[in-house]
Amino acid sequence: MYKEIVLEHFSNPRNVGTLEDPDGFAEVQSSACGDMMEIYLRVREGAIADVKFRTFGCAAAIASSSFTSELVLGKPLAYAEAMTDEDVSRELGLPEAKVHCSLLAVTALHKAIEDYYAKHPEARLAEAGQPTA
């Protein structure tokens, strides 16, 4: 059912854990099944300096979180914001029934970024090119 890359991320998931006082945090639950994901972000100068996640779910869910975290680590927020679940499910080659797991990972990531902006509204302005004080 799963491609090698999924099994690899499943067996050796990257970036597992939590962050103290995260700059961005989200917890997302799948309505389709019991899958749940927590994602923690450390943001420095508009980029994701550190990312950690914890996942309850099947191999596709675990692999999607791991893969997503690896993709965004060190990247600018704009890159992470532009990511779609298709980017993840295509790379992982997830079967139709498991595509919703990749959606969960990317949704969690976007929600965590939103959380960061909610706490740091000035960062959103800086992103948009507005001058800050």
Binding site: Y2, L7, F10, S11, P13, V16, E27, S30, A32, C33, G34, D35, M36, M37, E38, F53, R54, T55, F56, G57, C58, A59, A60, A61, I62, E96, A97, K98, H100, C101
Partner: protein
Amino acid sequence: MPDDDLLYLDHAATTPVDARVLDAMLPYFQGGYGNPSSRYSLGMEALQAVSSARALVAELLNAAKPPEIIFTSCGSESDNLAIRGVAQALRGKGHHIITSMVEHHAVSHTCQQLEREYGYEVTYLPVDRYGMVDPASVAAAIRPDTVLASIIYANNEVGTIQPLAEIGAIAREHGVLLHSDAVQAAGHLPIDVQALQVDLLSISGHKFYAPKGVGALYVRDGVLCQPQQTGGSQEFGLRAGTENVPYIVGLATALELACAEQLSEAQRLATLRDRLIDGVLAAIPQAYLTGHPAQRLPGLASFVFDGIDGEAAQLHLDMNNIACSTGSACASSEAAASHVLSAMGVEGRLALSALRFSMGRSTTPETIDRLLEALPGIVARLRALSPYYQPAKAH
């Protein structure tokens, strides 16, 4: 064997065909290939093979006479024939059916279809935390318009064995027909349809080392049942279709072999099962056995584990060459957690962690030991990345 290294612990899902069963079947593919309805020697030989198989199965189930055994394609077909067949035959009497909350889908979905499409009323009896039906609840549910009760003999997910003989006595006393899905029980527990006082009973070949694609339904003489597959008059008019001669021979042979070794094998499996249960509960914190502690199938043990998803654990086990079943269903077809565990009061997320191990002829003490070597580490790894796992405080 496909993979000698495979530790197969999913015998409740299916079993390999026994070599002796295959030997009994082979003559009927190219040699004795006649149609049992044909009135020449080749056909009559095929008919003889089917008749002998029928008589053998009747004897093994302690049925009164061979025509009470109807051959089908599988356990699900037998369940469908029993429930819909009796409902249709007795629609003059009423439209009420009693069943339980821990049935296989072949029973529950058939009942649900009768409710939805034909206006039947179905009472789904609750179970206790071990998945056991209380016979008194059967008595309480019976109404003048009840046409059938259907209670599974041994549950496929957790292994609990129902007090079927008691329920049979109650059904008999109230003049209500009793059907039992004995798909997990046949070949593993003794089945005596007289002692159980059942009127219909389903079995499935591939659970006791016969091939997939053959089952049987016991229908007590005098019980009215409408055929669900109509056409020719095979199976005494209850199930049209040219008889699957080799597979019918296979089923009878396999059942005979299983019944002959049933007692010793049950003891052997129970020892292995208990070794597994003790090992899991000792090595893995916050792991719980589901189902009745004593009234359970000899070779089945199902557990739930705080904080993890069963499907992920199953894949780790697969990567360790261990095959088992999970209650988790992170796939769009069946999003809800197990209805059986739910009926037993197991909390939704915990139910998603269910792993079922079912032993069989290939299981040895070494199989269990290798599983016990792999499983604790797998559970620990998944707990390390789970947002839900909280280690219980030591007291």
